[in-house]
């Protein structure tokens, strides 16, 4: 059943690349995702025809964990549930340094991953809106990689971690003040399928 899910998932993803919006709005994914942050469902852009015969592909890692449980944090064993349910780590302005609070959250998730070697997590890095967009993409990546490094130190395997930066493109708070900006400087920990 798990391998069928993998096959289905990978063929759906390749159809997405051909411009087919089979995944709709990701609404089904939203039903099961317990906390904030963008879900893992990929949706294709609509354009007037897509010719991907010249595509470059890097290594495209995908969510392959078939554990689609609903509405609760992953089954954690002896990891403190309240930390595991925290999915966002916040950052100071212009910094990718993780606070003590963030480190505790990371530790909980790293332990979970160490105990569940089939589990995968995506680290989504973000920046506040100030300054130029592509530089903010790079800042978001620095934050995601900072979290990834700490997770690896705490026992996560390389192949369990995936990261992406959305820069300032996906804010959670739409204001133009410090309150909003501090909410947007973050890394989201996303378990695909949750």
């Amino acid at each position: 059943m798990k391998s069928m899910n993998k096959l289905l998932a990978s063929s759906l993803i390749s159809l997405n690349l051909a411009g087919c919006s089979l995944f709709g709005g990701g609404e089904s994914g939203d039903d099961v995702a317990p906390v904030t942050g963008p879900g893992g469902d990929a949706t294709a852009a609509q354009t007037q025809g897509v010719d991907n015969s010249d595509s470059f592909s890097g290594v495209e890692t995908q969510a392959t964990d078939g554990n689609y449980t609903s509405n609760s944090a992953p089954n954690a064993g002896n990891v403190p549930q309240d930390l595991l349910s925290q999915r966002v780590i916040y950052f100071e302005y212009d910094s990718s340094e993780v606070s003590a609070e963030g480190q505790a959250i990371i530790q909980a998730h790293a332990r979970y991953l160490a105990q569940n070697t089939n589990a995968r997590i995506e680290l989504q890095g973000h920046a506040d809106e100030r300054g130029s967009r592509e530089y903010n993409i790079a800042l978001g990546e620095q934050r995601a990689l900072s979290v990834a490094r700490l997770m690896k130190l705490q026992g996560s395997a390389d192949n369990q971690l995936d990261s992406v930066s959305f820069g300032e493109e996906k804010p959670v708070a739409l204001g133009n003040d410090n309150a909003a900006w501090s909410q947007n400087r973050r890394v989201e920990l996303v378990y695909p399928g949750y």
Binding site: A42, T47, Q48, F56, E134, Y135, I137, V164, N176
Partner: protein
């Protein structure tokens, strides 16, 4: 077939011209001293009913928007000549006009027309220029913009940019809370906005090819960023880069054969150059810092880029074939997102020194920097192809809008969107 979605319709608020829907409005917020007064008489039309387009209105709107002209309200035109023999220059002198434009539209077959127009110096009573232009019904607006370009060039000595285009990104949230990003292309006056790509995930960094026929951009539609090149006239596109990590900031070389871009596949963001024919990738920078936002010099020999190798982001320059980098920006503690002027002599950038993000222009020879915009969250400067103006993204009243400023910083215009957000303007090269 290109889907035409009129997401943004510019309604010039100036001097009584009326369009149906005003979702995008232009306001001149600061004028330059004494724009030149001119009269553009409604063109003659030899058939019953109205001509397919009001060419005179489009031309007047273009010239006004440049900030350098003010056009006479047609309510003041008691006599409306459409051929030179009908002109009495004294009438126009009395009205204080310096220039006069008249014209005629005739049909010349099914779906075919001929436009003639003349531009006159009112004081000397002399024709400065005139043209006869054959066109089809679909070409009316474009022809009006071309005529505005000709008039502008004749009166200012500068090439006009009225028949150019702008690309930009919009972000809208539906009532249900669904977010849609769009890459749109419109005429320089905001009309004919067409959606080139639409996605629930972010689209960024539109970059025009030098031939004006293709746009490169970054799309997160697959969940990860990839760089695409899309043709304007048929919507065909191909994916150019989808490496591990960042794929961003595409920038075309002046010969259109290469794309500079940012990739972090080697561990941190660096500038690479991709040869579009051979697909070969060459690494241009390799610091341990963030290197991103490449832009080519007009002669193709250099690439300027943003780097925080010195601690905070600043603008650097390096030979496009690779070589040592040199820092260009020394004012303020934040300089990023640079854009080179068409003549290669100036660099516009996002500049901040006290948390106020504004557009500044650095003169490469004098090394002097001028701040052009008020801030506080200005970004994405883009030069007009004649170098006379810059488009940029700003926030006003909590809304994300596009703004324009003249190169000397004296004339400002806001293009306000009533719904949704607009960002990342990119002015077409021609």
């Amino acid at each position: 077939m290109i889907k035409i979605l009129l997401q943004l319709i510019i309604c010039p608020l100036l001097f009584g011209s009326a369009y149906a829907q005003a979702e995008l409005t232009i306001k001149i917020t600061e004028g330059i001293e004494s724009p030149v007064p001119m009269a553009i008489v409604p063109f003659g039309w030899n058939q019953p009913g109205k001509a397919p387009e009001d060419l005179a209105a489009i031309i007047a709107s273009d010239l006004e928007r440049s900030g350098r002209f003010t056009t006479l309200d047609r309510a003041h035109m008691l006599i409306r000549p459409s051929s030179p023999s009908q002109i009495r220059f004294r009438n126009w002198q009395t009205l204080g006009m310096e220039s006069l434009v008249i014209g005629q539209i005739r049909d010349s077959g099914p779906g075919k027309y001929i436009v003639t127009f003349q531009l006159f110096d009112v004081f000397r009573g002399e024709q400065l220029t005139g043209y006869t232009i054959p066109l089809t019904a679909r070409e009316f607006r474009h022809t009006a913009h071309k005529i505005a370009d000709i008039i502008y060039q004749k009166l200012t000595g500068e090439a006009g940019v009225f028949s150019t285009h702008i690309a930009y990104i919009t972000r809208d949230v539906s009532i249900k809370g669904a977010t849609v990003y769009r890459l749109q292309v419109a005429d320089a006056d905001g009309q004919n906005a067409q959606t080139m790509a639409r996605s629930k995930e972010p689209i960024m960094s539109p970059a025009w090819a030098p031939d004006g026929a293709r746009i490169a951009y970054v799309s997160f539609e697959s969940g990860k960023p990839a760089i695409y090149i899309q043709e304007l006239n048929n919507g065909r596109r191909r994916k150019l880069a989808r490496y591990n990590g960042i794929n961003g900031a595409p920038a075309w070389s002046p010969d259109g054969r290469k794309l500079a871009l940012t990739l972090s596949k080697d561990g941190n963001p660096d500038i690479f150059v991709l040869d579009l024919a051979s697909k070969k990738l060459r690494k241009i920078t390799s610091s341990f810092a963030i290197d991103t936002e490449p832009q080519w010099s007009p002669d193709g020999k250099y690439i300027i880029f943003t780097s925080d190798r010195g601690g905070k982001p600043q603008i650097y320059i390096t030979p496009s074939m690779g070589g040592p980098s040199r820092r260009l920006s020394f004012d303020g503690n934040y300089n990023a997102g640079a854009s080179i002027s068409p003549d290669g002599k100036s660099v516009a950038m996002v500049h901040a020194s006290d948390g106020n993000y504004r557009i500044a222009v650095l003169d490469l020879e004098s090394r002097k920097i001028r701040i052009l915009t008020p801030g506080k969250l200005d970004e994405s400067p883009s030069f007009a192809p004649n170098g006379s103006m810059l488009l940029y993204a700003a926030r006003k009243g909590g809304q994300a809008i596009l703004s324009a400023v003249s190169f000397d910083g004296r004339m400002h215009q806001n293009l306000q969107v009533k719904s949704g957000e607009v960002r990342e303007p990119a002015w077409s090269p021609k």
